[in-house]
Subunit: 308 residues, 2 copies
């Protein structure tokens, strides 16, 4: 099937059904004293689920069997857990990022943010518990995921989320408000803040099967390009879209005097840059030697050409 005829919507729907069911099963309503309710509010029923889709698409690209049933069986174990784990990390980062001491945002995915509904202290705890739960999901003791895969997934996720990944990028973001960053500095910030977890999603999907080194390097390049493109487009949409379309507050980068690609390069150059990154991502897939890359191709296209 060529990318031109690949039905991303149908492909995504089937994967997201499984991801949503798994998240609903694994994010515990039973957690004590309202913690479970806050965790579920933060995670369920919302979001584009881009990161889980990248995990599943990468896992399918490297899976040995490409026919439907076998593929589904393979990607229901480690890959499904990895998909949910990256989404939990993403969800926790949004909860903490929205808090008054950070971005102080009251709207997320079209709903009041977690601290608005449950209070700041519970939002803080819910975020903390979601991060721990991500690693818990990756380390089942039921024999479904090999120990070596568990260890690799935990390593990739911890690095993507930590000081040299998402948290480090957020620290740069925090201290860059009002500063005139160079493009290199802006790129470093986004490579860490958003790119690390997006690229990590791809690499975690890859880690669910054995892949040749060539494919590994190619998917790392794909993940890096898609990760950066995501942020460039985010900066563009912050200027060109409205809050209702975005499901979050539009124009907040400018309102907070945050450096963005649009403020640095201008709108037209930012749009051209996003397209160039898409071309890079697709070229990397071409060079990967992998055959089953339709979903990865379509996801890269979706990231760059999305309207929200």
């Amino acid at each position: 099937m060529s990318a031109g005829t690949f039905d991303l919507a149908a492909w995504s729907t089937e994967r997201l059904d499984r991801v949503e069911q798994a998240l609903s099963r694994w994010v515990p309503a039973s957690a004590p004293a309202g913690l479970g309710e806050a965790m579920r509010y933060a995670v369920l029923d919302g979001g584009k689920r881009l990161r889980p889709l990248l995990v599943m698409a990468a896992a399918e690209a490297v899976a040995r069997e490409a026919d439907g049933m076998a593929l589904r069986a393979q990607t229901n174990g480690a890959a499904l857990r990895a998909a949910c784990a990256v989404e939990l990390i993403h969800a926790y980062s949004l909860v903490h990022d929205d808090m008054p001491s950070m971005d102080n945002d009251v709207l997320r995915r079209g709903k009041p943010t977690v601290h608005v509904v449950y209070g700041e202290a519970m939002a803080l705890l819910a975020g903390d518990a979601l991060q721990a739960l991500a690693f818990e999901l990756l380390t089942p003791d039921d024999g479904t995921v090999p120990a070596a895969t568990q260890a690799t997934l935990c390593r990739l996720l911890a690095r993507a989320a930590g000081f040299d990944g998402m948290a480090g990028g957020q620290a740069i973001d925090l201290t860059s408000v009002g500063l005139a960053l160079t493009e290199a500095q802006l790129s470093t910030m986004h490579r860490l803040k958003t790119g690390a977890l997006l690229q990590g999603s791809v690499m975690m999907g890859l880690a669910c099967a054995e892949a040749p080194p060539l494919a590994r390097d190619a998917l790392a390049a794909y993940g890096a390009a898609v990760g950066l493109a995501f942020q460039v487009v985010d900066d563009i949409l912050d200027v060109t879209a409205d809050s209702v379309t975005l499901g979050k507050t539009a124009g907040k980068d400018a309102a907070h005097d945050k450096p963005t690609y649009v403020s640095l390069l201008g709108l037209a150059a930012s749009q051209a840059y996003a397209q160039a990154l898409l071309a890079q991502a697709l070229a990397a897939l071409q060079a990967s030697g992998l055959h089953n890359t339709d979903a990865l191709r379509a996801l890269a296209d979706m990231v760059v050409n999305r309207s929200c």
Copy 2:
């Protein structure tokens, strides 16, 4: 060597030298935009390091070779990483717990708390990054720790830190202010809030070597008793000690109208309960079939009979 003549101070000093050096090496000064500085402030140069000591003591109790050099080699790999990882989780929980939306505490280990020095947003990020770093420490890719051990350590730590452990206990704590809890409710809160990570420390040390099931069950019982005793004594010291001795604000439980063992049972009965838990912990060690348990015995005694 009997417990009576065991020199806990000397034993601890040797282990803590290694733990402090490892923490200083692994908590990255290089993390961007001041994040590393805040992380290091939160972790280094302070604290009793009870959790790392429990990891090392448990690892030594189940290590095959009990002579000094071999033991040190064995406990320099997985056990040293586990010891540092639990301390990072503990440190992050203190950073977040001290924040204005939680306990709003300005003094910790005799120093201004992290948010006082670095601001709330950076404190939030430092805590988040410390949690991720804990899992990064447990999953090195240098061949020093077997993948199966890495996976087990991540599983134990994630469960101890998460919704059914520390974070869950903190949620109960948060929603219990001003309430009259039963002893069962208070015990559940502390079993999760403090006990899970203390017991988890013991179980992580145990996971660094192969131990018979009998020893595993016995050390789980030991960890549960020590974990609960720690909190009972904490409640006692909050009433009987002063802020300078504690290195944190004394009397804050009463000031915040938090339920404690002292408020529930009275001071004398709380002291008797702590001694009973110590006896339980020592009986569990006796039943473990393990020989090299002097450090575990001495640590239990120290937890119950400490003055700060």
